[in-house]
Symmetry: C2
Subunit: 172 residues, 2 copies
Amino acid sequence: MGELREPLQQLAECGLPTALEAMGERWSFMILRAAFNGVRHFEEYLSEIGIARNILANRLTRLTESGILHRTPCPDDRRKVEYRLTNKGVDLLPTMIALRQWGERWGTGVLSNPVLVDERDRQPILPVTIRSHDERVLGHMDLCWMNSADITPVRTDAADDVGDRVRKLSAI
Amino acid sequence: MGELREPLQQLAECGLPTALEAMGERWSFMILRAAFNGVRHFEEYLSEIGIARNILANRLTRLTESGILHRTPCPDDRRKVEYRLTNKGVDLLPTMIALRQWGERWGTGVLSNPVLVDERDRQPILPVTIRSHDERVLGHMDLCWMNSADITPVRTDAADDVGDRVRKLSAI
DNA sequence: ATTTTAGGTTTCTATTTGCAACTTAAAATT
DNA sequence: AATTTTAAGTTGCAAATAGAAACCTAAAAT
């Protein structure tokens, strides 16, 4: 009867609902991908992604309101408007690439060409992973929750008696 | 007039649409988070996330169909059913944590407690980043697209004349 | 024998999506 | 100068989806 896991507190107060409020809608990530690939203008987004006109207008407004895109009327052609990524928007790149990599790995044999490489060495990037403070790649079972007050700020200090102040992520 | 970026090809054929087909719906990531935190049963999901009964039933079915969750009737109590993550589902963890971290960083002062730590050292995990083959952290401007046929398979080889076989991700 | 629990399904309403046509201002063309 | 085209929306309407509440069925608990 004594359930060991009780992660009910943080479920309410984590960054995920916040993130989903901004990015949880159907076309948001597709618009973001287009923006990352240099798409700037309304009609350009429209033809690039197969989205309806009114929906695109609505999404661009929302993404602008949530500070992911910035809307600037073009000075040289006053019909045109530019929608480009803010720093907040650029900061979604790891999420987007992680999602894309997952789709490639598990999707229906997507060959993924062209491939993302780093400019310096022209080699494909690594799969996006979770890492410890000292850069070890961590799996699901290497993670647990801890109260931030109980964490020793320095990094070169062995774990003392943490007892029940640690909550393990549940086993699959 | 000569537009330098033309990433129109890969927009159609990348893993993102595939991923969004499975995970693009409103409650999918919330269900996934609950699953990662050890939620197994229908009524448990129901009370954990604030989702409607019929929608939850529908999403659990869809997530099961797309191989992210596995549905098992409980042997000991034949009223109960277990929905738990498959390997495919577990593999979404980097995406989910990246999204969560973004929400924490840019959201309305979410203090994020408890915090995810690695079990060995009890230190908070690093922000999820994009990395080169030799583990350098890469920013948006360090990335470009390349035809997979043009990549030299080995890693210790300086870039020769790649010319127009490389397409830069557009500047923000 | 009755009540409670678990996991749904059904019904109905409200919201969202998507298509197609329309609008408005500015630029390009004749 | 008049006309056409382009860009970025808005509007109206049908279809699909989300959500609340009640209902259902089998199994377990009392």
